[in-house]
């Protein structure tokens, strides 16, 4: 099977209201099951909201319980959602993470590697950055996950592609002013890695931050296959064909031509930066 159905659950989580948000997740999970969705994606910090500030510490246990409930209800779905996660070794240290759920259990988590702290962003104030780019072999596809700021940096999706993922799942809480650039980036990341991009943004508003929604799937050659509404909640389902990947790569051998020697130049340049 090379075809799979992806569900983009563009929700507007309520800040700190984990129970209410969980109910919304469960409702969409049932809807997705009815529509025979294979891979269901929720946005960044979908269980607790993005701008919860000091609430993060207090709602961590509720988020853990909510993940258990989602595991019990996942059916045949592969589900990705945004969570706050406690560091596996160090208690009280939080990550902004994504969790992959399948067959009633957590398959794994991945941690946001670029935590923005400029302008209105405060990720670095609350979270510890991850250092690993992981890919997950799920029931229907191989995927990697980038969280919001992660896909403003080309190397994250590039690493995901080089590690063999077919789909780069991008989840975000992207604010209103970033819409035009965000849409460009989705296309650029798809093309420069000839990979499917499944992008799910938050909708609604939190503390004055309005999220632009506009979740979408972009094909490996940069076509938008499905598009959710701007700003408001939406749920979109789209079937993709993973065979599009070799077809596109035959004509655009960008990954074939990716060169370690050139990437080493990049590393060298970083080294020089740090010497200054």
């Amino acid at each position: 099977m090379t075809r799979l159905k992806i569900g983009l659950a563009q929700i507007a989580p309520k800040l700190g209201a984990v129970k209410q948000n969980l109910d919304k997740h469960l409702e969409i999970i049932e809807n997705a099951k009815n529509q025979k969705v294979d891979l269901l994606i929720f946005p960044e910090l979908s269980l607790c909201g993005y701008y919860a500030k000091d609430m993060y510490y207090e709602i961590l246990p509720k988020v853990k319980n909510a993940i258990d409930t989602i595991c019990k209800n996942c059916g045949n779905l592969t589900i990705i959602l945004g969570i706050i996660e406690e560091n596996k070794r160090i208690r009280g240290v939080l990550h902004n993470s994504a969790v992959v759920i399948e067959n009633g259990k957590v398959v794994g988590t991945t941690q946001k590697v670029y935590l923005p702290d400029y302008g209105m962003f405060e990720d670095m104030k609350y979270f510890k950055p991850g250092n690993k780019i992981k890919v997950f072999k799920t029931r229907k596809c191989i995927l990697g996950i980038a969280i919001c700021e992660d896909f403003w940096h080309p190397e994250v999706v590039h690493a995901i592609a080089l590690k063999g993922a077919e789909i780069a799942v991008l989840i975000s809480a992207s604010p209103f002013m970033s819409r035009e650039i965000g849409e460009m980036l989705n296309k650029i990341r798809a093309i420069e890695n000839t990979i499917f991009i499944a992008y799910v943004n938050n909708a609604g508003a939190q503390e004055g931050i309005v999220f632009w929604g506009g979740s979408e799937i972009v094909s490996p050659n940069g076509n938008v296959l499905v598009k959710a509404n701007y700003v408001e909640e939406d749920f979109k389902v789209c079937e993709i064909d993973l065979n599009d990947i070799p077809r596109v790569r035959a004509g655009m051998p960008i990954l074939r031509d990716a060169r370690k020697a050139i990437l080493e130049e990049l590393l060298k340049a970083h080294g020089e930066l740090n010497e200054d």
């Binding site: 507007a12 800040l15 500030k53 503390e207 309005v210």
Partner: protein, 276 residues
């Protein structure tokens, strides 16, 4: 060269309304009170808000003093009638006079008197907000806020601000998009604090120029010298605008206080707004 400040009216209106809706939901309030001066800012505020609150839940207060013209009141009434919202006309001159009689000062300058008027209106807005279990909508636009062209705890006193991310010329553009009567759009803006006062007359620069200076300084991050040399703005205008921004910083922020403890409010104790 001057530019027209960009604005996607449709999407921005949607974003602003989403913000208002989120705030209402979080604090569990369904009603709002807005002062209708007959000017463009309060009119656009009402036009944006009415769709969220519904016409029966938005109360417009028209609060003329001797400093206002008959046309101001007529335009306030026109807005209330066009939107079919509930409204009250409450003249404030008697309150202002009573205050002045009792304040124990013989001569009151026009700025102090103007501020009394603005604060009388604030008291009335909050009185009705208390009675109706409503929020007070602030009407200031970004240009006024940056210049400090408002009365602290007068028209600056509100629960949420609807236009605060739009420059004056953008508010006018939004007004045209929302179908605001042309006479209100074309009328020279005034704070209405003394007879014959107009904002542009008082500041001595047109809003078109002010907005261009502000937009280049803030949004495009031009340095003041670049605004003069590359945008061809008058050096004294740029100087004046910069001075107004700096001198009014205190008006835009919550009152400062010393950070003594480990967890002081807003410094280290940081929570979203909500009411359970």
């Amino acid at each position: 060269m001057k530019i027209e400040l960009p604005l996607d009216c449709e999407l921005t209106a949607k974003a602003i309304r989403t913000f208002i809706k989120d705030y209402m939901d979080r604090i569990g309030i369904k009603k709002a009170v807005v002062g209708l001066s007959g000017g463009i800012d309060s009119t656009v505020t009402a036009y944006l808000a009415v769709e969220v609150f519904g016409k029966e839940n938005l109360l417009g207060l028209i609060m003329p003093s001797n400093a206002n013209t008959k046309l101001d009141t007529e335009h306030g009434l026109l807005v209330a009638k066009n939107l079919n919202i509930r409204y009250k006309v409450i003249p404030i001159q008697d309150m202002v006079d009573a205050f002045e009689k009792n304040v124990g000062v013989n001569e009151i300058d026009k700025v102090s008197r103007g501020n009394i008027m603005a604060r009388c209106r604030m008291i009335l807005l909050y009185f009705w907000a208390n009675l109706e279990r409503a929020v007070v909508l602030g009407t200031s636009d970004k240009t006024e806020l940056l210049l400090g062209y408002f009365t602290k705890y007068g028209d600056g006193g509100s629960d949420i601000m609807v236009n605060a991310s739009l420059y004056k010329t953008q508010v006018k553009k939004m007004g045209a998009y929302l179908g605001v009567p042309q006479a209100i759009i074309d009328k020279p803006p005034t704070a209405g604090l003394w007879k014959g006062q107009t904002a542009e007359g008082e500041i001595g620069i047109t809003y078109e120029i002010i907005d261009n200076i502000l937009y280049h300084l803030l949004e495009l991050r031009y340095l003041p010298g670049q605004v003069i040399n590359e945008c061809g703005m008058n050096p004294s205008d740029v100087e004046k605008v910069l001075k107004m921004i700096r001198n009014s910083e205190h008006k835009r922020q919550t009152p400062r206080y010393p950070k003594i403890g480990y967890r002081e409010i807003n410094w280290d104790y940081r929570y979203p707004v909500e009411r359970s």
